[in-house]
């Protein structure tokens, strides 16, 4: 199992037991279910915990990829400001959906996903997480199907979407081309950093993936070369033929090491890089949420101001509508307060998250780089040893 950065499980205030609280999750045992087009992979999710909110010390449930997607979407909705751990991508190419390598990569990524949630001091308290880890399959399926597509948005959210569009349109109409944005230089800097980081990382990941391919290609070349050399040796006489045959065999032997190294590189270097890129996408998602929250807050503030003006007018004219207007005004102010609070929570959380994110990534990358160096050094030594061991044999051939 991959060692990734976990902060310890935080103290639950209600935990009476003397044992320190723990919540350990693992995703294992991928199994193919169903047939044909409807086939999918299911995973065993094993939870071991002593937290009182959970039933029993150990629980095993069966989950599939879309269940994980559900969990992520719920968390994204509920915990704005927090960088939700990223999920591995949906596979678009049918052919690779069921290869052993792909399944293992996905299992690993899902395991890391759940563990990151379980060790995040806020996210680990989520009710959705508890449902995910404990509910039976039927309940899970019901929950999952309720949340698909546009229907997962509650009516209030739908209104908000319409309002967003509306305000954007009116902004354009009124000549305000850009939607309202924070004018916080540090935050601007951060946003720029995130966007640029994504570009750099994507490039590095691209080359890392190509490097994996190159390893496989080199392996293939060595194998073909070895075979050709052996055939050539068969044409030549005793000593020379033997020399060729030794070389060819050695080349073929080496060719087996390369795909292994390629796989190691893929799982322990390229995949963490890809994970890093996904994590940055998640940060971008939070940036978008913060922007939306800011806009809401600003618009409400605008609306409140306008309402105040109207209200004062009404007060002066002592209309009977004043009472209603007062009522609406108070409601609006409450909403505005709510929006401001939401926005400020996001800002506060984001700041904390940035620190956590940077530290987590430094640890993750440090580990990945170490694996890279280890793998390359292992390969180089194996190659050197193999060829070196051949030289005395070749010397023997030429002296005979």
């Amino acid at each position: 199992m991959q060692q990734r950065s976990f902060s310890g499980v935080s103290q639950s205030p209600r935990s009476p037991s003397k044992q320190p609280p723990y919540l350990a999750v693992s995703v294992t045992d991928p199994a193919k279910m169903g047939n044909g087009v409807q086939a999918y992979i299911s995973y065993k999710v094993i939870t071991k915990t002593n937290l009182p909110e959970y039933q029993g010390l150990e629980k095993i449930v069966i989950r599939r990829y879309s269940d994980f997607v559900w969990l992520r979407d719920r968390l994204f909705e509920k915990y704005k400001g927090i960088f939700i751990p990223p999920l591995p991508e949906k596979s678009t190419v049918e052919k690779f959906r069921f290869t052993a390598e792909f399944i293992e990569m996905r299992r690993q990524a899902l395991d890391i996903f759940v563990n990151r949630i379980a060790s995040h001091h806020e996210l680990q308290q989520s009710e959705d997480l508890r449902i995910f880890l404990q509910a039976d399959e039927q309940t899970m399926e019901r929950a999952r199907s309720q949340e698909t597509g546009i229907f997962k948005k509650k009516p209030a959210d739908l209104m908000q979407i319409f309002k967003d569009v509306q305000s954007r349109v009116s902004d354009v109409v009124l000549g305000k081309e850009k939607p309202v944005e924070e004018s916080n230089p540090d935050y601007e800097k951060l946003k720029r950093y995130v966007f640029e980081l994504e570009d750099h990382l994507a490039e590095a990941q691209k080359h890392a993936y190509r490097l994996v391919k190159r390893h496989r290609e080199l392996g293939q070349s060595l194998s073909d070369f070895g075979r050709a050399v052996k055939l050539l040796g068969a044409c030549e006489g005793e000593a020379l033929g033997k020399a060729f045959s030794e070389l060819g065999t050695k080349s073929e032997m080496l060719s087996f090491k390369l795909p292994k190294e390629a796989q190691h590189l893929l799982m322990n270097f390229e995949e963490p890089l890809k994970d890093y890129v996904r994590a940055v996408h998640s940060v971008k998602g939070t940036i978008a949420e913060r922007a939306a929250a800011f806009r809401q807050h600003c618009e409400l503030a605008e609306t409140i101001k306008m309402k105040e003006i109207d209200l004062n007018k009404l007060r002066l004219t002592r209309s009977e509508r004043t009472a209603d207007a007062e009522h609406e005004y108070e409601e609006l102010k409450a909403d505005g307060e709510e929006a401001r609070r939401r926005f400020e929570t996001i800002v506060r959380l984001m700041n904390e998250e940035m620190v956590r994110f940077q530290e987590e990534k430094t640890l993750d990358m440090g580990h990945a780089f170490h694996e890279f160096a280890k793998g390359q050094s292992r390969l180089a030594n194996a190659i050197a040893d193999a060829w070196r061991s051949l030289l005395p044999k070749l010397e023997a051939c030429s002296s005979s």
Partner: protein, 544 residues
């Protein structure tokens, strides 16, 4: 049959010209060279019109000693960009530059006849006495003054060819001449004619490209490199190095005094002109002894070509076996083995190229990865707000450095791999020479067979005339004349057959000796190649 025999487009020949870094120029043991002296060109004994051998004693010292200056001009280092995706095997200067930089190989053998020779080459021992060292340099454009057919100037390139030798035949130890590529073609054609049955190194390809390309630096450099390699190989050959043709080429100033090859068209035209006269008896329709020792194809005697073609067909399809045939079982086995060898060489050579490409790709991608991480490092350092970022930046820098180092390793590896595995390409090219040598043998045999058939048919005609004459009256005089003509023809043909048979035996012996030499040299070269390849692979790692 009508084309010249050594212009078959062999895909490997051009590639192998372009690659080799093995610049060793060995003088093989003197023991074998003595036994070859009797196998000098048959032409020199049979015809006097061959070489006007005027040897200028005066040597012209070259401006700078080309043997000591490194060949590649500096601008070729630009070709080392990691983005170059062209076939690595087509760029010899690129690897020249690399060889200069990568020095991971310890050279065990103390005797290096030339600076750049690979340590695992079949070098001569330092005590050997004979050597010829050739360098080709200083390409220059020259304009041919207008000739009657093509008005206006016609530019071509000449190369300075400098020779250092202690062979007595040359009469001087250092000299240079200027030659153009056409001269090299002439030299090659004359050698092939004169040394039938020998393994003559294949010459560099003619290039059918437009004159614009001909003058480009890269092309000229490639050609210079190929010419140098070719001449050095000729100088390596124990028999050819002593040939008049080579000597004249290397030494005689001014115009090359070798007969230029006539092109196919004019030969055919000559032959076509002669043919009707042959058929009507005006021109000799028998093959004379001096022609019998020359191959039929490529010559001007169409009638002879037709006769041999008929014989060739009869050999394969006719009911009766020819009177003389290839009997040497050993030879036939050898031929089969060499055919197999060629096939496997070709395959191995291809796979070697793939291996080189895979190594190159690996090096490139490593380099790109390293660069990407360097950029990331710089970025994180510049934007660092938190310490975690600085730590990560430092880690990334380490990865970047490791990747760049690995990239350099693969490039260094490749440079040497190319030069070692190039031996495969060389021998593949030599297979072409084997084909030529064997076909010399086959065509000599065909000539013998044809002449034998001709003899037997002449004899039977003579017999018939003799027996039938007794029944005629007044035709005695003409019959007698005809019989006399036939007798004369029989005598000439008999002589020709004897010469042809002798030539055939001579070529067979040449074949045998050359194949032995080929086998011995190949074994040594391949063993060295394997050792070199293997040593290089782990040496470059260790020096990391």
């Amino acid at each position: 049959m009508m084309g010249s025999e050594n212009q078959e487009a062999h895909p490997h020949a051009s590639r192998e010209e372009m690659q080799s870094l093995i610049l060793d120029d060995t003088s093989s043991s003197s023991s074998t060279s003595k036994s070859f002296s009797s196998y000098r060109s048959a032409m020199t004994t049979l015809s006097e019109s061959h070489h006007p051998l005027s040897l200028p004693i005066a040597t012209s010292p070259a401006e700078s000693d080309p043997l000591l200056s490194p060949p590649p001009p500096p601008q070729h280092r630009h070709l080392q960009s990691p983005k170059s995706t062209s076939n690595p095997n087509m760029q010899p200067p690129l690897y020249f530059a690399d060889v200069g930089e990568v020095n991971g190989i310890e050279s065990p053998s103390p005797s290096q006849s030339l600076e750049k020779s690979s340590p695992f080459s079949r070098s001569s021992s330092s005590s050997s006495s004979e050597y010829i060292k050739i360098a080709v340099s200083n390409p220059q454009k020259e304009v041919q003054s207008s000739n009657k057919i093509v008005p206006g100037g016609n530019t071509y390139v000449t190369y300075l060819i400098t020779t250092k030798t202690n062979l007595p035949d040359f009469g001087a130890s250092e000299f240079s001449v200027r030659r153009r590529f056409k001269d090299v073609v002439t030299l090659s054609d004359r050698l092939v004619e004169a040394y039938r049955g020998f393994l003559i190194p294949p010459r560099p390809d003619k290039n059918v490209v437009e004159s614009q390309v001909m003058q480009k630096q890269e092309f000229v450099e490639q050609r210079r490199f190929a010419l140098e390699k070719y001449l050095r190989r000729l100088a390596d050959h124990p028999v050819i190095r002593k040939s008049d043709e080579l000597r004249v080429f290397l030494q005689v100033q001014g115009r090359l005094p070798l007969a230029a090859s006539a092109d196919v068209a004019s030969r055919v035209i000559d032959g076509a002109v002669k043919l009707p006269r042959q058929l009507f008896g005006d021109a000799p329709s028998t093959i004379g002894p001096q022609d019998a020792v020359q191959p039929a194809k490529g010559g001007r005697d169409l009638l002879r070509m037709f006769k041999e073609l008929k014989q060739y067909v009869a050999n394969d399809w006719g009911g009766s076996r020819p009177l003389v045939d290839e009997e040497d079982k050993g030879f036939l086995e050898k031929k089969e083995r060499l055919r197999d060898l060629e096939q496997q060489l070709s395959n191995a050579s291809q796979q070697a190229e793939s291996l080189v490409k895979a190594q190159q790709d690996m090096g490139e991608t490593m380099g790109e990865l390293g660069l990407a991480f360097l950029k990331l490092t710089k970025f994180e350092n510049e934007e660092a707000v938190l310490n975690a970022q600085r730590i990560r930046a430092a880690d990334m820098k380490n990865v970047a450095t490791a990747a760049v180092k690995a990239s350099r390793y693969y490039r260094g590896l490749n440079a040497q791999t190319v030069s070692h595995l190039d031996t495969l390409h060389e021998y593949l090219g030599l297979m072409l020479s084997v084909h030529t040598a064997f076909s010399d043998r086959a065509s000599a045999l065909l000539t013998v067979q044809t002449l034998l058939s001709e003899l037997s048919s002449l004899n039977s005609r003579a017999e018939k005339l003799e027996t039938s004459s007794s029944k005629r009256f007044g035709g005695n005089k003409s019959r007698f004349r005809k019989v006399e003509e036939l007798q004369e023809a029989i005598r000439v043909t008999e002589d020709a057959k004897n010469c042809a048979a002798q030539e055939y035996e001579r070529i067979k012996e040449n074949n045998r000796i050359e194949i032995e030499r080929l086998d011995a040299e190949r074994k040594a070269d391949f063993l060295n190649m394997l050792k070199g390849f293997v040593t290089n692979q782990f040496n470059v790692i260790c020096h990391d």
